[in-house]
Symmetry: C2
Subunit: 178 residues, 2 copies
């Protein structure tokens, strides 16, 4: 063991693994990418991944955290926009993540860590969306229902193919809820 190993070495290699996994999970899919392929892309051995992560699901959660943080940063940088433009931004920006959305739902019932992440994600999404709806004038007692409708529509648009115009029509019609 080298005496000059800096503490962030660990974080750096961990980040390389997560980066490799993110690209593969997004473009190829979680179920279709073997651990060996992630390891090769990250320049490590398969077993090394298990030094940093408990199992493949834990690696998935790390990828989800990274992707979510990145999306939140981008969204904040996009600045204030009207309500429907924000929704359309989210839909187009996150469209390439549809495989992640699907695999999270598929693994919720099998993996406790994915289930936990999913719960936390929806709590966060609900808070943000409810804030937007409140600002748009939705009645307080309708906020929970309106929020969940918005979440489900976003998830649906991400996991189903559709053209740009359909997305616009849907978001416009959703505006009727406000």
């Amino acid at each position: 063991m080298p005496a000059n190993r800096r503490p962030q070495d660990r974080q750096e290699k961990r980040a390389e693994i997560v980066d490799a996994a993110e690209q593969l999970f997004v473009d190829v899919g979680f179920e279709d990418t073997p651990m060996a392929r992630i390891a090769a892309a990250a320049g490590v051995t398969t077993t090394t991944i298990y030094w940093y992560f408990d199992d493949k699901d834990a690696l998935l959660v790390a990828v989800l955290d990274q992707v979510l943080a990145s999306a939140l940063r981008e969204h904040a940088a996009a600045g204030e926009q009207p309500w429907d433009e924000q929704l359309l931004w989210v839909i187009t920006r996150l469209r390439r993540l549809h495989r992640l959305v699907s695999v999270v739902h598929a693994r919720v019932s099998s993996s406790p860590v994915v289930n936990d992440w999913h719960d936390r994600f929806h709590a966060l999404a609900d808070i943000n969306l409810a804030e937007g709806f409140r600002a748009a004038g939705v009645r307080e007692q309708d906020l929970p229902a309106a929020t969940r409708i918005a979440v489900f529509v976003i998830e649906g648009l991400l996991t189903h193919t559709h053209d740009e115009q359909t997305a616009r029509d849907i978001v416009r019609l959703l505006g009727a809820l406000t």
Copy 2:
């Protein structure tokens, strides 16, 4: 080979396999049930399943067809009901099928047969829902968007836990689209 083998023998054994697979896919999940377990439940050998189905995805599609047909029969038998009651009926009746919904979405991008089934399902769902919305007085130009919103909300309710009251609130708020 027995000379008195009747042609429906094949259909009967096929049905036994599909029944076993349906119960396991619904209660345990597609990814968590090995072919060997389906075979054992159906009283055949693993390899026998491959005489009736190309692969596990083809078996999944057979299960989906059977479940869909059963749901359509039940729905028809339920008779005419107001629009929101129909939606609530679908949601409670199909809630136990959430694993099927999730795995279909997860496998759409990997399995052509599942992808085909998914396309056909949504075409069918769109027709039925559009009819309901039209009868409920939704403007013709809003029908496609309203239909997709309803589909996405139903799928969301099936794949996310929620209490009865939330479902009622959501369906009631959806009524604002009409």
